[in-house]
Amino acid sequence: MDTLYLKLPQKCTVTAEKLILGDIAEITCSNLGIENRAKAILLKRFAKNKKQRAIFSVNTLISEIDGVAPGVNIVPLGEVDTVVDYLPKPRPKCLEMLLVFLVCVIAFFGAAFTIMTFNTDVDTGKLFQDLYMQLTGTASDGFTVIELFYSIGLPLGILVFFNHFSGHKLTNDPTPLEVQMAEYEYTVNKSLLAENTRKETSAHARKSVSGTDRTD
């Protein structure tokens, strides 16, 4: 008997209107004929030029494969549910640039604001003047070595913490932000799937071969 391995990703993005199984899943089978037939299974036709999202359960996919290759032994690997995003056309570059610019502006002023509120809150200036007086015995004019090196140390700390230096990583590890981004995407997917399960149970486990539609 032939064995077919079906590996689902957590999430994928497609641009083709016709969604076939080979677009989303990794399929390996000892029998090439079955493998090709399984890959060509038409899962769904997306409505043209509209951003959509479909969620497929591995059970749906197994019964689909069973339909074209009866009796094949299917071994599911990876995720049990997969989120498929249909993006008919890529976003215009200028819109993307605008969004990036907007986030940059917020991040810039936000970071500036954060450090200023901190400096004001703990009264860094006064603290430094006192320290200067205590250590040197002369009054500080507010422009001494301590302020200078504090201002050098601050960006240095961010550089080390973010593990990057204008595009060049200091080490091979992903930066904390990249790690957070991956975690965030994982959590978003999990909640999409949870929401989907909730809907399905409330509709008394309505069996749908074409997956559950969601329009953004």
Binding site: R91, E96, L99, V100, L102, V103, C104, V105, I106, A107, F108, F109, G110, A111, A112, F113, T114, I115, M116, F118, N119, T120, T124, G125, F128, Y132, L135, T136, G142, F143, V145, I146, E147, L148, F149, Y150, S151, I152, G153, L154, P155, L156, G157, I158, L159, V160, F161, F162, H164, S166, T175, P176, L177, E178, Q180, M181, E183, Y184, E185, V188
Partner: protein, 139 residues
């Protein structure tokens, strides 16, 4: 001279410690990945890091050295708007990290109207800020 060197050491190390602490706080609240996720611009994460670096450096120089930057009311408005957006995002992120809203919704068994709750949170914050500032403007 020794005292100066010691002061420089204190300045440098406290700068590093403060920045690491503050930015660990910003990151653990998830500001950047929220914004990147929302705008679908995850590939630009590095750029956002760089911008935070420059923003913090500029803000620190401004507040430590009291540098004059004559940009007028327009400049002040821009700073206010964007730092306000940033603080709003951080404040809501803090609420979310503490799981205040999900726990509350579960306790009162609320299934719908999450949008209203979020809107009320935003309006409440705005009202609070306005009350605080109006007091300053009047007196």
């Amino acid at each position: 001279m020794l005292a100066k060197a010691f002061l420089a050491l204190i300045g440098l190390t406290s700068g590093i410690a403060v920045s690491a602490g503050i930015f660990a706080f910003i990151i653990s609240l998830g500001f950047v990945e929220r914004m990147a996720g929302f705008t679908r611009t995850a590939p630009y994460i590095r750029l956002y890091e760089t911008v935070i670096l420059f923003g913090a450096t500029a803000g620190n120089l401004m507040s430590i050295y009291h540098i004059r930057l004559p940009l007028g009311r327009g400049g002040a408005a821009i700073f206010g708007l964007f730092s306000g957006i940033f603080t709003g995002i951080l404040a809501i992120a803090l609420v979310e990290i503490l799981q205040a809203v999900p726990i509350l919704l579960r306790r009162v068994a609320l299934r719908k109207g999450l949008g209203c709750v979020v809107l009320s949170l935003a309006l409440g914050k705005m009202t609070g800020a306005l009350i605080q500032f109006l007091q300053g403007w009047i007196s």
